[in-house]
Amino acid sequence: MAETWIDLLRLLDGALRLATPLILCAMAGLVSERSGVINIALEGKLLTGAFTAAAAVTLTGSVAVGLAAAVCAATMLSMVHGFACITHRGEQIISGVAINIVAAGLTVVAGNALFRQGGHTPPLASDDRFPALTLPFAETLAAVPVLGPFWGELVSGHTLPVYLALASVPVVWWLIYRSRFGLRLRAAGELPEAVESAGVSVTVLRYRGLLIAGVLCGVAGAYLSTGHGGGFVRDMSAGKGFLALAALIFGRWKPWPVLFACLLFGVLDAAAPRLHGLEVPLLGTVPVALVSVLPYGLTVVLLAGFFGRAEAPGALGRPPGRTG
């Protein structure tokens, strides 16, 4: 019993680690898409953040500098996205695709130029990565059954970005639903003309949305290369930005359901290797490759409207009507 409990906690612990970049990116996507800007560039921002963090840490030895650099780099890409699709009213999807490709190329080119290791950064020593934080009472509670392992194994012992990711959800929720900024942001995503006619600039609102998205993607990237991993390798985001997008749709653009979707995808991801070679009655061996793409399949099923409709913000992808 106790062992199953511990095992479950370890699974969830792994899931949380895997879900962290998803949560941060999904919250980034949520803020920008609620303002009406489609953000399929999450992947590129995440990748850029990861590279910049690892490169900065390698050069300076400070995770804080790495984090700051990642945030700056991802935010810059966000601003490019904004310049194209807010200022110049360009096609948001095309801009996103462009940013993803530029990021995939530029991270490797810059990595090569800086470190000459085929686009990787040198592996980081554990001192150069985010340290695991031990929460209070982790030791004291260790002896308590059920709760002790829960606190010690699952809640305590993560790196800073994991807690930032978890904290980002209530913060984003509060911003979106309980602040003036959120009211205007949502209005810009539903009917930008109403915002303009109320004398508030949709342009500024959407840029701010993208700014927040950039910051969150930067943190996610820093976690990927200097928290979860130890250094940057090419294409290390490996579709996580898109998976976050799937989670965003799966959670219907609402913070708490999106968090749930991220955790669900995290659990699937964490459980996949454990299923390797596992025999299931009737099905035979579990096809692990298929389990890992299950989130994408689930999202398509959701998009098909088979269990409730996924209603996107009304003006997603649309610049305000007023031109003059």
Partner: protein, 507 residues
């Protein structure tokens, strides 16, 4: 002499080739309801947008309460106490009335306390002007009239002393219109200044103190309402005496070519048409009058095969179209039904396509056999159309989007009349079109009628209905009234029918 609340001097604005406003001078006195009347496309909405700062005028000055304002933007206009109620509501779906009203004026970063204070202030504004709404109702659930009240409150809440209303009754039911006019009356009593932009004489005569008449971007006349009459204003609006009745309306009309019986249409937006029955005869023009939004568009779309029938049926050319047996636009065309749609820019034309390509929109399968498109056939068709309708510039490879409104409409009408259709549906055929083109289109309509074509004319312009139709029907809230013989019809009776008051036998 009091200082005008709003003074415009020599305002001009040009969009591309269209002079939307030309040397407009306007004085609006405080505490009055000032009407601006004109046909569709006369430049009224442009003028409103300029006053509210949505468009910058090319020349001219604006004074508010005697003080000149430059480079007006909507924010500044609001700051000067100008409020605008748009033709299309600017209400954020999913938001409550209160959230919509407060948007932009939330008082503080935290929403909660701001909303609480706003609720109190809103109640005060409601009391002051005798308005009543539920601040927590989601706007999507409110009827149109109430949504408009939310729009008005939005402006009042921002401290508007000068309220611009752009065609506010276009989408309202008759009783909602009356409520709105009463409200405007009360607002005047509480000291507000109202600029009412409309093309409906009734509203001007009921509620306005003074009225300015716009035509082709110019202010052509200004009157005190007590010193003028609806007839005079109508004449001023169209710029010439209304065409006399009676010329060549002797065509024989016996054969029914299209029969609508018990037609009902409903969609996601609700019931659009209820139990509509009438017949359309060869060699007649049946005029369909009514305030827009009362089911005219839906009726046209059903007859054009663009919309399914929910109840009843339509018979044409031996084919019976009902819920179980829908017809496609292509089938309706093959049954001889041509269609000039209400919105030429969105429906009647593909703007980036050139005239050649637009010449066959919806008729490609009739341009010869096979699946290949033959450029020579398209070119020939386009040239015939250009010649027949004097389309300018006379170049077939010009995208339709660069043509003026009148020439765009000529392309649509030319295409739809090219094959001498036995039945022609006309949706607002002269809306936003210059006078010369109106005359041309009208003469073609009469020519077709005389050749035995059956025409259904849907127009928001009552004068047009009276000038062209042999019989008149009206739609109000999806119910049909009439027909009346135009010869014996009285404008006031038709007006009553449009307002859902009059009766008349069904055909």
């Amino acid at each position: 002499m009091a200082v005008p609340a709003l003074r415009l001097r020599n305002i001009s604005k040009r969009f591309g080739t269209v002079q939307a406003a030309r040397g407009v001078d306007l004085d609006v006195m405080p505490g009055t309801v000032h009407g601006i009347i004109g046909e569709n496309g006369a430049g009224k909405s442009t003028l409103a947008s300029i006053i509210f700062g949505l468009h910058t005028p090319d020349s001219g000055t604006i004074e508010i309460d005697g003080a000149p304002v430059n480079n007006l933007r909507p924010v500044d206009a609001i700051g000067h106490g100008i409020g605008m109620v748009h033709q299309h509501f600017m209400l954020v779906p999913g938001f409550s009335a209160l959230e919509n009203i407060v948007l932009g004026l939330e008082a503080g970063f935290r929403l909660g306390p701001g909303l609480a204070r706003a609720r109190v202030r809103l109640a005060g504004v409601c009391r002051e002007h005798g308005l009543d709404i539920d601040p927590d109702a989601t706007v999507d659930d409110l009827p149109v009239g109430v949504r408009q009240r939310v729009e008005i409150l939005k402006a009042l809440y921002r401290g508007a002393r000068i309220l611009l209303l752009d065609e506010p009754t276009g989408a309202l039911a008759p009783h909602e219109t009356e409520q709105l006019l009463t409200l405007l009356d009360r607002m005047r009593a509480s000291g507000a200044t109202v600029v009412l932009i409309t093309h409906k004489l009734h509203e001007i005569m009921t509620v306005c103190d003074r009225v300015s008449v716009m035509r082709s971007g110019q202010l052509v006349a200004e009157r005190d309402v007590k010193d003028t009459s609806a007839d005079e204003l109508a004449t001023l609006m169209v710029g010439h005496d209304l065409p006399a009745d009676g010329e060549e309306k002797a065509a024989v009309k016996v054969r029914t070519v299209l029969e609508v019986s018990g037609l009902g249409v409903r969609d996601a937006g609700g019931v659009r048409l209820t139990d509509v029955s009438f017949s359309l005869r060869a060699g007649e023009i049946l005029g369909l009058a009514g305030v827009s939004g009362n089911g005219q568009s839906e009726l046209l779309e059903v007859l054009a095969g663009m919309r399914p029938v929910s109840a009843g049926n339509v018979s044409v050319g031996g084919r019976r179209i009902d819920h179980a047996h829908p017809a496609s636009p292509a089938e309706m065309r093959s049954l001889g039904v041509s269609h000039v749609p209400e919105d030429r820019q969105r429906q009647g034309l593909v703007l980036p396509f050139d005239i050649r390509e637009n010449a066959v929109l919806g008729r490609l399968e009739r341009c010869g056999p096979g699946t290949l498109v033959r450029p020579a056939v398209l070119q020939a068709r386009a040239e015939t159309m250009i010649g027949d309708f004097d389309i300018r510039p006379p170049v077939a490879d010009r995208p339709a989007g660069v043509l003026s409104g009148g020439n765009q409409q000529k392309v649509v009408v030319a295409r739809e009349t090219a094959e001498n259709p036995p039945i022609l549906l006309l949706g607002q055929p002269t809306r936003g079109v210059d006078i010369a083109t109106i005359a041309l289109i009208h003469s073609r309509i009469i020519e077709l009628r005389n050749r035995g074509c059956a025409l259904l004319l849907v127009s928001a312009d009552l004068d047009e209905i009276f000038a062209l139709s042999d019989r008149i029907v009206t739609l109000c809230s999806g119910r049909l009234a009439g027909p009346l013989e135009t010869r014996s019809a009285d404008r006031s009776v038709v007006g009553m029918m449009m307002a859902g008051l009059g009766g008349g036998a069904t055909a």
